[in-house]
């Protein structure tokens, strides 16, 4: 979980959780569910190849030099560049909003 500092009123510090989980943040062997939010940011070609919101995606392998990434989604075995993978958000399974 990553946090950013949001400057707020009169000295009160608010930390707000920001979901940064994307396919690019998966570890090898891990799975996630593609998020429904921002579904318009998934390129058409990827949608057409089965990379749809609500579908499970598993990271199978990362190429040497950390790019591209080899995923399996909806039965399709695909290699996509990290740049693309980092744009596809995953559902945040443990959404927590922290306020202090």
């Amino acid at each position: 979980m990553h946090f950013i500092r949001v400057p707020a009123l009169a000295g009160i510090v608010v930390l707000k959780s920001v979901s940064l989980n994307t396919i690019a943040s998966l570890k090898i062997g891990e799975s996630g569910i593609i998020s429904d939010e921002n579904k318009h940011s998934i390129p058409l070609k990827l949608l057409e190849m089965g990379c749809l919101p609500g579908v499970e995606v598993t990271l199978l392998q990362i190429a040497p030099l950390n790019d591209p990434m080899y995923i399996v989604v909806n039965g399709s075995h695909l290699a996509i560049r990290k740049e693309t993978a980092s744009k596809i958000k995953l559902m945040n399974l443990e959404t927590q909003d922290c306020e202090r």
């Binding site: 390129p43 058409l44 199978l60």
Partner: protein
């Protein structure tokens, strides 16, 4: 061909579509061109039933009707042009049993275009192994189509499939686009329908969304083209709704028992994409490819060389002397020989590449190499063209068509001619033999071999550096997505591999052949004709030398040499002498450079003629003769170390192949890029050769 029906084969890549095509047509196939585009059109004929014959077109594989590359755009273009000669009476849609869900996306798109369609689910022989079962009857009902389970490999279900295809009128039409438009924005689509009430709504929708590919539509869609983001959103929604429907249908008709699935793919993937073994295996395969091109291929190549040499000789001896004989034996036959000689290398290379592609391994290479290649502005997909370039740049440049980013593709096209193609080899071989001593260094390495290796490395490095520079210099927007499918591994079908070898070799022979042959004939003309004084030279030489008591053979050789000097090409060589002088060359070598534009290896033959050597096919003689040649200015050997190195460097960098330039023009659709290539590579070659010569001499 009007008495037979038109069948189009459509499907995703890696579905065994080509196997099915080969199964249906056997050897009755040919490769042509689609009007206006350079993608190969594979067609074949097949007897569907005793009455119905079919012309079958194998359209390039695509995941969607919305294309991202030229190859993929063919399906859209063929299906959009209802009056085109290839517009199908019936579509044979090929899906593979394992990826049925994804395959059905394209299927529903195709179905919405209103052409009778048969759904062939291929590779059903693997259903048991993969734990898959399909309720065909229910699937037919839900999709409103006819379904056949086939195995191209085992020849199962083929005759049933043929019978369905033979009767297009009896096939159901499953139009379903209206249910999608209702969910997206009913009003928007009813406005769209008003543009042309008689047209199919899905066709209109494609005309709007694929405006850049479909330039021939007559309707005015301008009001629909303004809001690009909205169009994109609607396309995304369309895809999601299509998948929703497919999911629902498959839930009722398709079951997958994961416990039965074997895990060969992931085990092989762990080895082939391993960060150490992956590269190790890849470089091993590269070595094997080079070994086959440069060692095994030389046997048939020497044989071909010999056959064409002796054919020329014997025709020369038998036919009456004259213009026609000269054209035949010095122009046409060596010209054809110059093309045919590359067939072994190209066929072997395509054989190996076809095996790598068929087996599914090539995708892993693309995966492994993408990041490295990207640093140079290339793509993982550039690896295949660069490897192919070691045989010949022409098929290599044609292999760039799979690269979806135009910038990456253009850079690959521009730098591929730097890789050491096989036409450079004879030139390298003879120059190295002359200037590099045949001795061992460090006990095991042969100095000549090391030099050759160095030239290869130099060529590859030049390609990468040029790509790096071009990537910085070329300011073009190239937003394109890199997605490749990693197909399951499979044992390549020998039939598919052989068909692919035949097809690609044929297209090389005819594409490059035309150009190499015509340039050979032009060069022959320039070498055997000259201004009026040319025709008196022979007599002059004869009278001058009459007293010197030369043997007839020596006299003939001298005459040939003097004639060449006075021919058009000789004059051209003398004209460019001041230009090539800084590189250490004289007019004779200048002629050699000019002649190299037909194909680089012509250099050797031309020098042989200029230095008046009998028996061109004997490399040893040429070598001795070249070694003995004296530079009149210095009194030293003509091919000293400096000149030889300068020539080698020139051949590494220079763009001396008209056939490649023609292919670049065709693939980039403009004269700009071949001209850029010619000039830039020429400048690099000229300046480095000059530097090398000035430094060494």
């Amino acid at each position: 061909m009007k008495d037979s029906i038109q069948v189009s084969l459509i499907g995703n890549p890696n579905t065994g579509k080509t196997s099915l095509f080969n199964r249906l047509t056997g050897l009755n196939q040919k490769v042509g061109n689609y009007p206006g585009i350079t993608v190969d059109k594979k067609q074949g004929t097949c007897k569907l039933t005793s009455e119905v014959k079919a012309v079958i077109t194998d359209l390039p594989g695509t995941y969607s009707i919305n294309p991202t590359s030229i190859d993929e755009s063919i399906v859209l273009k063929v299906l959009n042009n209802t009056k085109g000669e290839n517009y199908p009476d019936v579509i044979l849609f090929v899906a593979d049993v394992e990826n049925l869900k994804r395959n059905l996306l394209l299927f529903t798109q195709v179905q919405d275009l209103g052409v009778p369609t048969v759904l062939a689910i291929n590779m059903v022989d693997e259903m048991g192994k993969k734990g898959i079962s399909i309720d065909t009857e229910q699937l037919e009902k839900e999709l409103q189509t006819k379904v056949v389970l086939v195995s191209a490999k085992k020849n199962d279900g083929i005759s049933e499939m043929k019978e369905l295809l033979a009767n297009p009128a009896s096939l159901p039409l499953g139009y379903n686009f209206s249910s999608i438009t209702a969910k997206i924005n009913e009003q928007y689509f009813s406005e769209l329908q008003k543009v042309n009430p008689n047209a199919s709504l899905y066709e209109l929708w494609l005309s709007v969304t694929q405006k850049s590919f479909l330039t021939n539509s007559k309707e005015d869609f301008s009001s629909f083209l303004d809001d690009v983001t909205q169009l994109k959103k609607y396309q995304q929604k369309e895809t999601i709704y299509r998948y929703q429907r497919i999911n629902e249908i498959l839930k009722k008709t398709y079951t997958l028992d994961r416990s039965k699935a074997t895990d060969v793919r992931s085990r092989l993937d762990r080895i082939f994409t391993h960060k150490f073994f992956g590269y190790f295996i890849f470089f091993g395969i590269l070595l094997l490819i080079f070994q086959s091109i440069f060692d095994w291929a030389t046997v048939p190549m020497d044989y071909i060389d010999g056959v064409f040499g002796s054919l020329s000789e014997s025709l020369k001896a038998q036919l009456p002397e004259g213009m026609f004989t000269s054209l035949l034996t010095d122009g046409v036959i060596p010209g054809i020989g110059g093309v045919v000689i590359f067939i072994p290398q190209i066929a072997i290379l395509f054989f190996l590449i076809a095996i790598l592609e068929e087996s599914g391994y090539m995708s892993r290479v693309v995966f492994l190499m993408d990041k490295i290649m990207r640093r140079f502005g290339l793509s993982g997909k550039s690896v295949i063209p660069l490897i192919s370039g070691t045989a010949c740049a022409i098929p290599a440049i044609m292999a760039t068509r799979t690269i979806t980013s135009w910038k990456e593709r253009l850079i690959t096209i521009l730098v591929t001619p730097f890789t050491t193609c096989s036409a450079r080899l004879p030139v390298y071989a003879i120059l190295i033999a002359i200037i590099i001593p045949d001795k061992k260094v460090f006990g095991i390495f042969n100095l000549q071999g090391l030099t050759l290796l160095g030239l290869y490395v130099l060529g590859f490095s030049a390609a990468l550096i040029a790509a790096y520079v071009l990537n910085k210099v070329l300011k073009m927007k190239s937003k394109s997505l890199f997605v490749i499918e990693m197909p399951d591994y499979k044992i390549p079908s020998l039939k598919n591999v052989l068909f692919s070898v035949i097809e690609k070799t044929k297209s090389f022979v005819f594409d490059a052949g035309k150009i190499i042959l015509s340039i050979s004939i032009i060069l022959w003309f320039l070498a055997t004709h000259g201004p009026s004084s040319y025709y008196e030279v022979e007599e002059k030489v004869k009278t001058e030398l009459a007293s010197q008591n030369l043997s007839e053979q020596e006299l003939e050789q001298l005459i040939a040499s003097v004639k060449m000097e006075n021919s058009f090409i000789g004059i051209a060589g003398k004209t460019i002498e001041p230009v090539v002088k800084p590189m250490g060359y004289d007019w004779k070598l200048g002629i050699g450079l000019i002649a190299s534009f037909a194909a680089r290896e012509v250099f050797i033959g031309t020098l042989a003629t200029i230095y008046s050597i009998e028996g061109v096919e004997d490399e040893g003689t040429i070598k001795e003769r070249m070694q003995a040649e004296i530079n009149p200015d210095t009194g030293e050997k003509r091919f000293d170390f400096a000149t030889g190195m300068s020539l080698l460097i020139f051949y590494v960098f220079a763009m001396q192949c008209m056939a490649t330039l023609a292919v670049v023009k065709r693939e980039t659709k403009s004269w700009k890029w071949p001209v850029v290539q010619l000039v830039a590579m020429g400048i690099i070659a000229y300046s480095s050769a000059t530097l090398v010569y000035q430094f060494l001499s």
